[in-house]
Amino acid sequence: MKKRLIPGLIVATLMFFTPLTGWATNGMNMIGTGAVSAGMGGADVAVPSGCTAIAGNPAQLATTCNRVISVGSALMFPDMEDQPSGGSNVDNEFQMFPVPFIGYAQRIGTSRWSAGIGVFAQGGMGVDFQDVEVDPVNAPGFKDDLMSEIGFVRLSPTVAYNVSEKLTMGASLYAGYATLKYDFFPTLAGMGHKVEDLSSFTFSGRFGVNYQINDKWSVGATYTSESSIDFDDGELTMIMPGLGEVKYDDVKMDGFTWPRQVEVGAAYRATPKLLLAMDLSWINWSSAIKTVTVTASDPDNSMAPGSIPIPFEMDWDDQFVVAIGAEYELTETFKVRAGYNYGNTPVTNVNLSPIFPALVEHHATVGFTYSWTNWDLDFAYEHAFTNTETNDGAPGPSNPFSGSKVSHTMDTFNVQMSYRF
């Protein structure tokens, strides 16, 4: 009974959080988890962060030392535009994505070990374009929809150990659950389709170290392994010429991986009240997202092909991210933060698609923490500046968005409460 109960609880928890995941902005990753990290532009590898170390540098969990619980959420408001070649501009429908986080951590007895567990959204993305001109040149006036929703949530038991007064190490196991659905011009006969209910479980891990050089300097690093996400159990609906609507009950997606990542960071206590931090990250999208193939089988019409492969050439580039943050203690109980985050878009122009447009590159952030006895209230606001890219690949069946111009911007609000006891 117990053997079934625990995995069941894990699955239920992950499934509860997944529909709430939404847009992320370093590719498909969040720039930071929690309002403290977000307020610093995501520069958190060498900065003590309490419970959110579970999703950041797990080594930082060892510096928490007491029992602490944190709950919070980001609220993301993406804004996108799509202009097909020779067609008119379409705005994304209003979307708001809550991205919750919950974590608990404590020192284990009187030992040098700390442990924690958390559920957080690693990232995701989604668009909702309605009445997009499918082919303004050859089929003027024919409009259809483009929609996508990818969510990826992780449950992460974490342990951390104080090797010495200066060196801490930590590791997180990431049990991930991802969901995906999309509409690709669903009423366009012979080519368009609608995919629902794809889901996948996956495992990966993160290892982190932190070294306190002296009272002013600390440095840290993390390595995150990649998560191969084998989506299956989906459904695909397609209008086939002469057959009408055909439903495929066995749909899978191959070639979709959440990438490995290496981060290094430094923090510098410039004055007693001012902390500066900087992180550099490499996200290996080029080996994670290449050609993603949806394969649909088991049609409900015997005249339809038994199996159809639908490849999406994506060939994302690696991403280099720089995050800079500053924290200043205005009063004994009130800290303010500001940050900047840049990550080149991993999307390649020859394969640019309005369904998966992870385009924003520059982010500015501000935030604050108000502390009251054992409570902290954290808030952060992120603005991702507009980036516009054009698909410059040759037109053809494998590149239906040739010439399309896609813009992406986003505002995100983060709130977090922590209690130490």
Partner: protein
């Protein structure tokens, strides 16, 4: 390419900031810091001087303890007031487990004030703001703990 340029610019900006923001610490102003003793040394000293004990329970890697040290124990007024009126004792929970157990302390930072007759007058967990900590020091140093509790004392303050 543009990304690499930006990373280099950001690196240069970070290094420049760290070079030109000169830290100010109590030590640089000639303060010697709090004259911390071990618990055993503190007890001996208390027999001799009859002053209150200030116990600071910490861990060397606890970031909240470092916050306390940075915000409060680096202040020159606080340092000299403690050195004049208290017997300051620092207890590392990893190294002095018996002392931590004796005072039932598992949380860091924790502060306990012990009167010259050996009773506990004040006990508080977590980082204490400098202004509140100064009121605690005054409350103990002026002997107000003999006639009222700290909450009442705080309410009487302007």
């Amino acid at each position: 390419m543009q990304g690499i340029k930006l990373i280099l610019i950001a690196l240069a900006a970070f290094v420049t900031l760290t070079i030109f923001t000169v830290p100010v610490t109590a030590g640089e102003h000639g303060e010697q810091g709090v004259h911390w003793l071990t618990y055993e040394q503190g007890l001996e000293k208390q027999q001799e001087l009859k002053k209150p004990l200030l116990l600071f329970f910490h861990l060397s890697y606890c970031y909240r303890c470092k916050d306390m040290e940075r915000r409060v124990y680096k202040d020159s007024k606080v340092i000299s007031f403690i050195n004049q009126n208290f017997i300051p004792v620092i207890v590392d929970l990893d190294k002095e487990k018996q002392t931590a157990k004796r005072f039932e302390v598992t949380y860091t930072p924790t502060h306990i004030f012990i009167t010259p007759d050996g009773s506990t007058a004040l006990r508080e967990k977590d980082v204490i703001t400098k202004s509140r900590f100064e009121r605690m020091l005054e409350y103990m140093a002026t002997g107000k703990y003999k006639t009222m509790n700290f909450d009442t004392y705080e309410k009487c303050q302007p």
